[in-house]
Amino acid sequence: MEPILIVHGGAGDIKDSRVPDKIKGVKIAAKAGYKILKNGGTALDAVETAVRILEDDESMNAGRGSVLNLDGEVEMDASIMDGSTLAAGAVTIVRDIAHPISLARLVMERTPHVLLAGPGANKFAEEQGIPRLLPGSLITPFAKEALKEFKKKGGSLTEIGGKDNPGDVG
């Protein structure tokens, strides 16, 4: 079967100035994931690799570059699913780790559960040897500015990222 991989970098009212970086990021991730598939790798490895690349890209709302909550902190969610077994793993409200998607995969592969949350997810990450980053490591200047604008202007939580509110969507 001819392998294929598709990625997205988020939907919303994305600012014009963010468009080139968004396109560049998804192209890099798609190529990397496809390369794994062409070399005989699994779909699971391919999607995890592609998402890790996007989590490292601070123009994306995931990993470093995540938007901020009302307290100015990053709280991240991730999930992964294996279509051959319906095995699935997810984390929510996880803090200070670089790649939530890899933690979600560990939940799938090393626990009897599907979803770990908050401090429990971070405790599991620590047990699995995933380094905890210094608080604030994932916060970018753009995310800080977006929250500042949000607090100043209020506005919709559904379409954030336009010229009036330079944030990003969930």
Partner: protein
């Protein structure tokens, strides 16, 4: 939000999604991304999906699973994806997007928001876009 869906040479599907959520969210808010069936789903017998957009609305329609049910009921991936997005936006007045691969390797890309960045590679060509109806391609 970011996401990926893949079909490997063995015919196995996988999907993955990761997000920081919505700007200015309440502390402790979870998104659709963490919920299997809303933000992510994969089944070798049907297809795989990753979603993005207004998470609280995506949760209410179990979007990823709903798209796959459409495919299971005979829709092609593009129509299956867009119809769920359109229904969600009409009913809940919020926007979202999704990427889909069927078990036969057909692609679906849809979004009811202004923009969504996406890309996939097929053989030596990469296809990508961010605007509605936009499909660009270039040789790798």
């Amino acid at each position: 939000t970011v996401g990926a869906v893949a079909l490997d040479s063995q015919g196995h599907l996988a999907a993955a999604t990761s997000t920081g959520g919505i700007n200015g969210k309440m502390v402790g808010r979870s998104s659709d991304t963490s919920l299997i069936g809303s933000g992510t789903y994969a089944d070798d017998e049907i297809g795989g999906v990753s979603t993005t957009g207004h998470g609280d609305s995506i949760i209410k329609v179990c979007m990823a699973y709903a798209i796959l049910k459409n495919i299971e009921n005979g829709s092609d991936p593009q129509k299956a994806t867009q119809s769920v997005l359109d229904k969600m936006s009409a009913k809940l007045n919020n926007t979202a997007g999704a990427i889909t691969i069927s078990k036969t390797g057909e692609i679906g890309v849809g979004f009811s928001s202004k923009r969504m960045s996406w890309a996939y590679q097929k053989a030596d060509t990469i296809y990508f876009g961010i605007e509605q109806e936009e499909v660009q391609s270039e040789k790798v």
